[in-house]
Amino acid sequence: MPFSDFYGNSDVVNRLREMLARNHFPQAVILTGSQGSGKYTLALMLAKAMNCLEPIMTGGLPDFCGKCSNCVRIAQSEDLDACTAEAVEARENMRETDKKETRLFVQTHPDVLVIPPDPPQMMIKVDQVRRVIETIYYRPGDARERVYIFTDSAFMKEAANSLLKVLEEPPEFATIFLLAENAGELLPTIRSRSMVVGLKALPAEEVEHYLARERADWSPKQRSLVSRLSEGAVGRARTFDLAAYTAARQHALTILTSALRAADHSELFKVTETYRAGAEGREKIERLLRTLYSLLQDLLFINSGTPQSVHNTDIESELRRLAEAASFEWITSAADGLAEVERGMRRNLLRSLSLDAFAVGEALGN
């Protein structure tokens, strides 16, 4: 699986490979891009290219063989969800006292450490960063470069501060990757010590082209819809769960209808009630908020006379009806309201109440 398997963003990938070729690869890289845009895949590919035992060149730039013992072992980390689940399970089986002090890591190669967010808070914790600091100054054993990949930008405050120390003077044989959906989520002091590299969203046509190759089992209609809904991220498109998305969108539509029509709220309350507190509900509300934003964006597209940009093409007529009632001012105010809900989530506000407040608030403002 050489670099040519990385779909899209070839300019970014080539730039990084050029830096590798010239031995000028930065010691800390922030890879940004939306969920499923290939940040993790690219970071692992670069780790392989740095450490491949039989490095090859393709198109005049460094590549990796994918067959040597280093490539193979690094590749075992590819299925991050499975690896993380295995790590969580390993922790579950520990003694109570050890459980508390144990942090999650994925390490299939002794010199490549993957640091996933630690449940249940799903944040990177200070003990995880400490482990990085403790090990980073050891010389690589089987490889040439020690590689550390933080897969999430949600750091506990202490963890972020602790990370600053290593970023200040990392050993010359180590590379740290920080993966983030948005570089702004990281401390400015972390950003200033790293190089920010962004993976751009691909045009829907390119995603559709990719899906035609990867998901031949889907109907063309489904592929076309998914390519519009996946926000230009091929990884997200490939694993797109249309059913879950549709369910979240149904909720989002109910909330928006309530917010626009200020009618009977019983439907609204039935929906928001299902957004419970606790770590399990986090993913659900995140999906909902993402969908709400995407619907608002579609309303804006319709109202500004660019309906060809609409993502949710399958419910366009419904959106058109909603759009009639939504003025530009209302949409901007709703977007602000959503941002407020997002901020509230970070402060652990009650999810159902925050959503109610958003819908009712926008309805009153209307």
Binding site: V88, A90, P110, R130, R139, G141
Partner: protein
Amino acid sequence: MPVEAIASAVGTTTMEITVSKFELLRELTATQGVVERKTTIPILSNYLFEAAGDKLSLTATDLDLSLRTSCAVKVKKEGSCTIPARKLHDYVKLLPDADITIKLLENHWVSIRCGRSNTKMVGMAKSNFPSLPTFPTAGVMKIPAQVLRSMIAKTGFAIASEESRYTLNGALMVLKPESITMVATDGHRLSHIERAGTKFDGVSGEMKTLVPKKAMDELKSLLDSTDAEEIEFAKDESTLYFRIGNRLLTSRQLTGQFPNFEAVLPKDNTKSIAVHGDELGQAISRVAQFADERSRAVKMRLEKGELKLSASSTEMGESEDTIEIDYQGELLAIGFNAQYLLDFLKATGGGEIKLEFKDSQSAGQMRPAEGEEYKYRYIVMPMRI
């Protein structure tokens, strides 16, 4: 047969051995320190067992450090397997003193039988176990175990544990053809020990090695439990190797330059006194009870004929102890962290010691009065009092 040779001789999917509980438990206990307890990388909490010839080789690793050891067993079928380390150790401890039969079953299950006890544990695929560096064939040096044991005991405590000062997270070992030196510091105190007059086989020129703290700790316990007279030491670009009897400890090397410690060794500390280590230690322990809890500062006053130790804190009160000494120089008052002084006194184990000062702003030096074979010195930065 060296332990590595066993490893390369096996590779099959069967294994059956019989081993005495005593032998197995001894090796399991010796390797427990290296087994990572709090890890979510499952293979690291496993032992690798490899049986060949008439030996069983046991390996544990946390990726930075690895320990390979072996014991005599009756091998029925050569082979290898991995077994959860902690559970195995806890279980074997509870077995009666008899022979244990370990057999690899299907799907990485391992059966452990002893008398009428019968247990099955599930291991992992052997291929998941990290590959380990092999002991180099050239450039092997021999160090007397007693020398290394004593040097680690006298410097290990001064290694920094602060994560930010990574070059201090180890001790520097300097080998020369006729001497060995070990230095450790945390930036506030420095422990330096040198042993000259022994010939080291295989050493040519000066060789500096930074030994990580984790490896020092592990070495210490390995040296304490061995009757080997000499250990073998070797290194390559990435790894340090210590062979102690039938056990092989490997550690990855730390990067970074150990600070130029020679520059801080005091040269003109002319005010010198001799006291008895135990007496000084007891006096410091007593007054330190009344030292400020954060700084642990005690004050030393050199006066004509006596050394006064004192400490005071606003909440607890104050305390003073006097020791009679032979001192006729000018008056000197200097402050130190009590713990730093006690660490040294504990490492020297009583006996006459010499304290040497320059003034109240300069580092103080402590050393045992009788040099014997070792040149041991301990430098402590003073505190403002």
